[in-house]
């Protein structure tokens, strides 16, 4: 039981990396989403999982209760969630547009900005 937190986070990151390395555009972008979730959890856990009370002061009190959670990682993760969301939405739309234009969902087929193909998959490089 105690190992399940780091295990789940590690699994999340590993799955995200695996999906991101895929040649399929859609899987790649969703890999970013999974990887992002994993990294957010990592950041959150680095603030130590333990105290369970939200870092909100009671009415009338002028300090946080003793058992309150660490507010700093929460603030960071909150920012990361929103930024990650914006990135993903843009990534999805971009991937859709690329797939639509190239008539292919293979990331390796997107070569419009690469030099013309040389030997095999290698681009031609200007010889000295």
């Amino acid at each position: 039981m105690s190992l399940i937190v780091p295990l789940a986070i590690a699994l999340c990151v590993a799955a995200g990396v695996y999906l991101t390395l895929s040649r399929d555009l859609f899987r790649m972008v969703l890999g970013l989403a999974v990887l992002g979730s994993g990294v957010n959890l990592l950041l959150f856990a680095s603030g130590r999982l333990g105290p369970l009370a939200p870092p909100i002061m009671e009415a009338g009190a002028d300090a946080l209760a003793a058992g309150a959670a660490n507010p700093l990682p929460q603030a960071l993760v909150l920012t990361a969630i929103v930024i990650g969301f914006a990135l993903l939405c843009f990534g999805l739309v971009l991937a859709a547009r690329l797939a639509n234009m190239a008539r292919s969902e293979d990331a390796d087929a997107l070569r419009a900005t690469e030099p013309p193909g040389g030997e095999g998959h290698k681009p031609a490089v200007l010889e000295p």
Partner: protein, 751 residues
């Protein structure tokens, strides 16, 4: 070269102003020499916090260089007026020449090593611009690039050497380093520092194996060759070595390096001179040879070697600059510099022929010339030093070649049956006749009136060899030894001159020189660099996104491995589960299930659901771990994301195609990344958290920002500017997505 077509370039005020620079500089120098005794010093505060001063110091050696720079400079400026009479960009060339002159003046008068380096590099840069002047000519471009690469690489070495020397001596001035030198003998860094300085000097003064850039720099217009590549810039390396010589001349390392490299350069360049047919290139080879002799002389430990360096440096500038101008005159008048096509020019170019004879006599070291005096002091210096017999014999050979080249430049092309129709070739204008004539006559005058040149020579010699006493100069005008040596040299030189064409044919047959010489090594290195860049670009810039990601991940993982290995944090099990064990378990199982499912699912909608599962799982975890704000945000984001993704999904096929990819390698990367995160998390529970920032935010949240929700206060108050940036990012991504969406819609309509 410039041809006769087109109108002559008018002489504007810019030309007059530029010409005034060297003339004024020379006048100022003469006035200073007459009214103030050497050395002159000037120190301005520059960067006091680093102990750096802008220090200038002019002693006898620097004054001699300054005389050459401004005096020959003035005449070169006049000469360039005639030589470039049809060149519309003449004033621009002269402006660069003036910049070069200022850099040279700075380099020889700087006492601060940093200033010396800056001016040194500025001379390399201006030399690059001047060599590549005829930029339409590929040879000129290649020559300019070669000169720049070699002298700049040497300049870097020089900077390293000077900084090392300055650190060892604890001062940033050259005079300070020389004064502190006796205390540096035991320092283990000294050989490295001196080797670096020598590398800088050898590249600048075209010593073996860097000698090949100088002949290739002959693509420059002739005024540039006469000024930079014979009289001044290439002497800068010699100048620096001579400057440091009083400090290190009794070190065997210093002596052997200079004598060895100097001799090798002199012999090698003399031999290569025999393989050339281009008059300018022949002269350039003998310049390299003379520079080798100068390095050899600097390396000799005897005090009279200083006098020999000063005299030969002066004599060489005074005969080589006019000879280059002679080559330029011939080129200007006939359109060729190949000695095969040049014969009997004496009849049509009598003035140029006279200059060539005067300078040639000095070059050959015949009596009644300044070159003779130089040769004389060199002979005395060599007699005083215990030279290896090999070095002595080598210098005789070199001198014989120099005599032969003097014959080629002064006799061969001017005598004999003219090959040119006389009507087509005319003598050059006065502005091209007078400057070389003046320099050559000056050399003659110094022979008959030594009182004019002697004080300057002696001051320069004493700057190189402080032990030299003033009587040496007049005493060394005893010509017995020299006359004997001269007979041998002249005899050998005459033989070389007579058999020049046959020797040339012989030398031309030695093909391995072209394939394995240092010049070929330079070409190989240059091409190798380009090939390396091409191979490296092919390897890394292959245009495949997943490959880039793998590369980036590999670098990150390697970095993490190094850090884990260096730090080796204590590994510990995390804290026991809190009260909400059930809720946590549910959340974590959701996350894990989503992650595993995402790996295997190929149906895109199902994949979207699986990734949503990870997000909702995280939200549940946040909710039960004291972070309700995070939970609500994550729930909202996941929901909206599913809507956006579903829209995008319309443009993909329903199921991901099975593409060929390195699944095993990808899985390995994923496993390594997961393991890294796991290892990162394990020691966390054992380490005490640093709550300094969190406590500060919690303490000031109510009092400073009147908020009770600390997380919100951090975001909107304490880090408000960051949040503004975040909002800007979201807005920007929306703006960027809009045209993409519009494009998608249009395409669908069209389809």
């Amino acid at each position: 070269m410039s041809g006769t077509a087109g109108a002559a370039t008018p002489t504007g005020p810019a030309y007059v102003g530029l010409l005034a620079l060297p003339v004024a500089g020379f006048g100022l120098l003469v006035w200073g020499l007459l009214h103030h005794s050497l050395p002159w010093a000037l120190t301005l505060e520059w960067v006091p916090s680093l102990g750096l001063d802008a220090a200038f110091r002019v002693d006898g050696l620097a004054a001699q260089m300054l005389a050459l720079i401004t005096g020959i400079g003035a005449l070169v400026f006049v000469y360039a007026h005639g030589y470039l009479d049809h060149e519309p960009r003449r004033d621009r060339l002269l402006a660069i020449l003036a910049l070069f002159m200022l850099a040279m003046v700075g380099a020889v008068s700087a006492d601060s090593v940093i200033l010396l380096f800056l001016f040194w590099e500025l001379t390399s840069l201006t030399s690059f611009l001047l060599v590549g002047w005829n930029h339409a000519d590929p040879h000129a471009r290649a020559g300019a690039r070669q000169a720049l690469l070699i002298t700049m690489a040497g300049g870097l070495a020089l900077l390293g050497g000077l900084i090392l020397l300055a650190q060892m001596a604890g001062t940033w001035t050259l005079s300070g380093i020389v004064a502190a030198a006796p205390g540096l003998r035991a320092d283990p860094r000294l050989p490295a520092a001196l080797a670096l300085v020598m590398l800088g000097a050898f590249t600048k003064s075209a010593q073996f194996p860097f000698h090949f850039w100088l002949p290739n720099a002959m693509s420059a217009p002739t005024p540039v060759s006469a000024y930079l590549h014979s009289a001044t810039m290439v002497k800068l390396g010699i100048y620096l070595l001579a400057r440091l010589d009083p400090a290190f001349n009794d070190l065997p390392f210093w002596e052997f390096s200079l004598v060895g490299v100097g001799t090798l350069t002199a012999v090698w360049a003399a031999a290569l001179a025999l393989r050339e047919r281009d008059l300018k290139r022949i002269l350039a080879r003998t310049t390299v040879s003379a520079l080798g002799i100068l390095v050899l002389l600097v390396g000799l430990p005897s005090p009279s070697a200083g006098l020999a360096v000063a005299a030969f440096m002066f004599a060489h500038a005074l005969y080589k600059a006019p000879l280059f101008m002679v080559a330029g005159n011939i080129d200007h008048a006939t359109g060729t510099r190949s000695i095969d096509h040049l014969m009997g020019l004496r009849q049509v170019m009598p003035w140029t022929a006279a200059v060539a004879i005067l300078a040639g006599i000095s070059m050959a070291g015949l009596p009644m010339s300044f070159g003779f005096i130089a040769k004389d002091v060199i002979t005395s210096a060599k007699a005083e030093a215990e030279l290896l017999a090999l070095v002595s014999h080598a210098t005789v050979l070199v001198n014989a070649t120099v005599v032969a080249v003097a014959g080629v430049a002064a006799v061969r092309v001017f005598w004999g049956r003219p090959e040119f129709p006389r009507a087509r070739v005319r003598e050059v204008p006065w502005s091209m006749r007078l400057p070389p004539l003046l320099i050559a006559l000056l050399a003659l005058e110094f022979e008959f009136l030594p009182a004019l040149a002697d004080p300057l020579l002696l001051a320069a010699a004493q700057a190189i060899s402080p032990g030299l006493d003033a009587g040496v100069l007049s005493a060394s005008y005893r010509f017995d030894n020299t006359l004997t040596a001269l007979e041998i040299t002249l005899g050998l030189g005459l033989l070389l001159f007579l058999f020049w064409d046959r020797l040339h044919a012989l030398g031309h047959r030695i093909h391995w020189l072209d394939r394995y010489g240092p010049a070929a090594a330079y070409e190989h290195a240059l091409h190798g660099l380009a090939r390396l860049a091409a191979a490296h670009t092919r390897l890394l810039q292959h245009g495949r996104l997943s490959g880039y990601l793998r590369g980036t991940l590999a670098a990150l993982l390697a970095l993490a491995c190094v850090m884990l290995w260096l730090e080796a944090p204590p590994l510990a099990w995390p804290a026991p589960p809190p009260e909400q064990a059930v809720a946590w378990s549910v959340a974590l199982v959701l996350i894990a299930a989503g992650a595993v499912a995402a790996l295997t699912l190929r149906d895109r909608l199902a994949l979207l659901m699986a990734s949503g599962l990870v997000g909702y799982g995280s939200a549940v975890l946040f909710l039960f771990a004291g972070a309700p704000d995070l939970a609500f945000t994550q729930f909202a984001v996941e929901t909206v994301l599913v809507v956006v993704a579903a829209t995008a999904l319309r443009h993909f096929r329903g199921e991901a195609p099975r593409l060929e990819e390195p699944r095993l390698a990808n899985a390995l990367f994923a496993l390594l990344a997961g393991a890294g995160v796991f290892l990162l998390l394990l020691p966390l529970a054992a380490l005490p958290p640093d709550t300094a920032l969190s406590d500060w935010f919690a303490a000031h949240s109510l009092e400073a920002a009147h908020g009770r929700n600390v997380v919100n206060v951090i975001i909107v108050d304490f880090r408000g500017l960051d949040t503004l940036g975040e909002i800007a990012v979201v807005a920007a991504s929306l703006l960027a997505a809009l045209p993409l969406l519009a494009g998608l819609r249009n395409r669908n309509h069209a389809a």
